[in-house]
Symmetry: C2
Subunit: 233 residues, 2 copies
């Protein structure tokens, strides 16, 4: 029976062998139909994993928040016809903070089998390397953009992190990272721990957990870098 494969993408320019099992390449080589967030990005990824791939013989189906429900449903007809279909997100693992989850829902409604493959997740790698509570954690995506809402949300996250010992993972669009860092340093208690995980899996990877007081002494420049933030105790 054909299946829906969730195929993690790279997070950086690192060689794919650093972050993907060789099995992923085997699976990818057998798939001809791909649901992708961005076609150019997906082509580049597939070419990287296998230089011999005849990209023009593959079928790409675009998936974003504007894709109509009926079209999404149609994408899975290939599976019913006996062809495996792979989902590739723009970076990292499909289904985590991206539109792939919608496709998985439809697949279950149609009784299909979904197979997640192992790959790099900036959320998970940051949590592993944070030294913070991994028995209890929450990922909340992006914080509110408006300053008063954002500061309130930071205080809320800090309370949950410190009082309930639930590590709080969040992120920001790269060009606003330095603003978020400033807000965190201004809002949180000096003794609260903050993990900053930047450029994960790249040559410039910088992951470190320090207290707010210590970060104030040595503030990194996070401009334009992909960063995961974690508040903990």
């Amino acid at each position: 029976m054909a299946k829906l494969y969730l195929l993690p993408n790279l997070l950086s320019e690192s060689p794919w062998q650093n972050v993907l099992p060789s099995y992923n390449a085997e699976v990818i080589n057998q798939i001809r139909h791909f649901i992708v967030e961005d076609i150019r990005n997906a082509r580049r990824f597939l070419k990287k994993v296998n230089r011999e791939t005849d990209i023009d013989s593959l079928t790409f189906m675009e998936l974003n928040k504007h894709t109509p429900e009926m079209q999404k449903n149609g994408y899975l007809d290939y599976i019913q016809q006996g062809f495996d279909v792979g989902i590739i997100s723009e970076a990292g693992c499909p289904g985590v903070a991206d539109p792939g989850a919608e496709m998985v829902k439809i697949a279950y409604r149609r009784g299909m089998t979904v197979v997640p493959l192992v790959g790099p997740s900036s959320i998970l790698l940051a949590l592993m390397a944070s030294g913070m509570n991994g028995q209890s954690f929450a990922f909340t995506g992006y914080l509110p953009v408006k300053k008063p809402d954002r500061l309130k949300r930071i205080q809320q996250l800090e309370r949950q992190a410190v009082q309930q010992k639930q590590s709080q993972i969040f992120m920001e669009t790269p060009y606003r990272n330095n603003h978020l860092l400033n807000d965190l340093l201004a809002t949180c208690q000096p003794g609260t721990s903050l993990c900053i995980a930047a450029d994960i899996t790249s040559e410039n990877q910088m992951i470190r957990t320090r207290t707010i007081a210590d970060w104030k002494k040595q503030k990194p420049d996070l401009e334009k870098k992909p960063v995961i933030f974690i508040l903990g105790s």
Copy 2:
């Protein structure tokens, strides 16, 4: 400079090439000092990744919740002396729901570099394949053992999952899985979605999301299987 590597372990009897990048094997082959949860398990893992390894020439340092702080601190002296050290947990990714996090904390206090490698995480793989909200999720570990506390906790998790659209990930010791499933089916609303992810990465992998009402019609036997549960909407 020597570093502290976080080395994911396997989740099942699958070949390591299915779930670990080849880079992990390269890194492992260069490390002689390992901090491990269980020495027999770690030896077996290292032998699997490289049959040529001379296991008896390696140094193993045991880490569990009874390991004294001073001893943990001593484990990292090797790094100061210029030797890379690797942490291997019993299954999956070090630092997530295991004692590795404590070592990472100490490493940062001593100004060391921590490098997380990619590998299988049952929590992440289940979330990917659940089709549930991956923009907002929480992992809460084990539910309370006492029935009244447990039922109350299930209701609380369901409220957070449905009303706040925060996917709720949790687990149970394998021999209590069927009890937990019964409690979930008896406590939650018929329309609430439940993902059951059993035997992840093994040949018997079963991952499926259904409503509580649908699970009631076809109840799987989860006895003795490693399972991740996710409540969502």
